[in-house]
Amino acid sequence: MISKEDLKKMGEISEAGSKSASSALSVMTGQDIAIEISDPEIVQIEQLQKNSKNGLVVSVLLKIEGELNGEMLLVLPESSAMKLVDILLRKKSQKTVKLDKLSESALREVGNILVGNYLSALSNALKMELLESVPDLVLDTRESIMNSLVVEISQHGYETIVFKMEFEVQKEEVKGEMFMFFNPQSIEKILEKIKK
């Protein structure tokens, strides 16, 4: 059983990671980023797909590897993803109307940098070696993306802890979400470290 106190402590560590990720995004875009970090929550995995609007999103998925295992998912509504590409590639506003190879690779890099910064903050706090996989980019409905992620998570159990950050590049109307999941053995390892 995971106590409220344990969840809170893990939330604090994750929050440091989220803040580090958002400041990296701020550097990349040259803009202020507003963030909202949700308290970690234990949910039945099916809940992750609920309340998903059926619009198209760009998602970047990375596996967490090394001493901890899990998944990190970046979700950007399609319009936000295109605006973000405009900013990153220094294009005029609304120039990107379809994702080509270059914009996809720019968005994968965003995933890489956000996750890399999140993980290095965790790595420092927990004194663990953490790695990330090559980013995987998929454009589809948010529902079907969450559906596939839930199936992956289900292999480790039917409940999971959701760590979540929402962010907004304020002047540019770019909105996105970042989800972090750790498998149960990794949660145990994190708790052991915290308790020491």
Binding site: E46, Q49, K63, E143, S144, I145, N147, V151, S154, Q155
Partner: protein, 156 residues
């Protein structure tokens, strides 16, 4: 006659009679199993997540999570409302492999879901009338019990 629409979420199943449309949106690597009795216009649809349950308790608690566990239940419940097994046909949709990264790690759960459904339906002597499975895209699925048509919409 306008049909009522019932949502079938992940790990859920529903049995209904015309005029009803059973809907599952956002089907990724999950598998939609749709069974239909043309003579009675009764259909059943399940939105299963994994090929089989790891233990009995999981199977009992949420059978619709698992392809292996839910198929016999769908048939049984259709029989309970008067369908004859020989009139039941099956349609399958889903089982995509959206993320290449996950494909490697989870050894393509989508594919395993499809294989398990084939195995079970063959074992139970239910004909697979139509199938739209695999690939890399998510699917929105609608099952119209007026005619047994399973419509699939991919947004990509």
């Amino acid at each position: 006659m306008s049909s009522q629409i019932y949502e079938v979420g992940m790990s859920e199943y529903k049995i209904a009679e015309n005029p009803v449309i059973l809907v599952s949106s956002g089907v990724g690597s999950c598998l939609i199993i749709a069974l239909y009795d043309r003579t009675r216009k009764i259909g059943a649809m399940a939105h299963a997540m994994l090929p089989q349950a790891a233990d009995l308790q999981a199977a009992k608690e949420t059978p619709a999570r698992f392809v292996e566990q839910i198929i016999p239940i769908l048939i049984e419940e259709m029989e309970d409302v008067g369908c004859k097994k020989e009139n039941i046909i099956a349609k399958l949709a889903g089982g995509a492999n959206m993320f290449a990264t996950l494909g490697i790690y989870s050894r393509e759960i989508g594919v395993k879901n499809i294989q398990k459904a084939h195995e079970m339906l063959e074992h139970l002597n239910i004909e697979i009338d139509a199938e739209n499975t695999g690939g890399n895209n998510g699917r929105h699925v609608e099952f119209n019990l007026a005619n047994g048509v399973l419509s699939i919409i991919s947004k990509i």
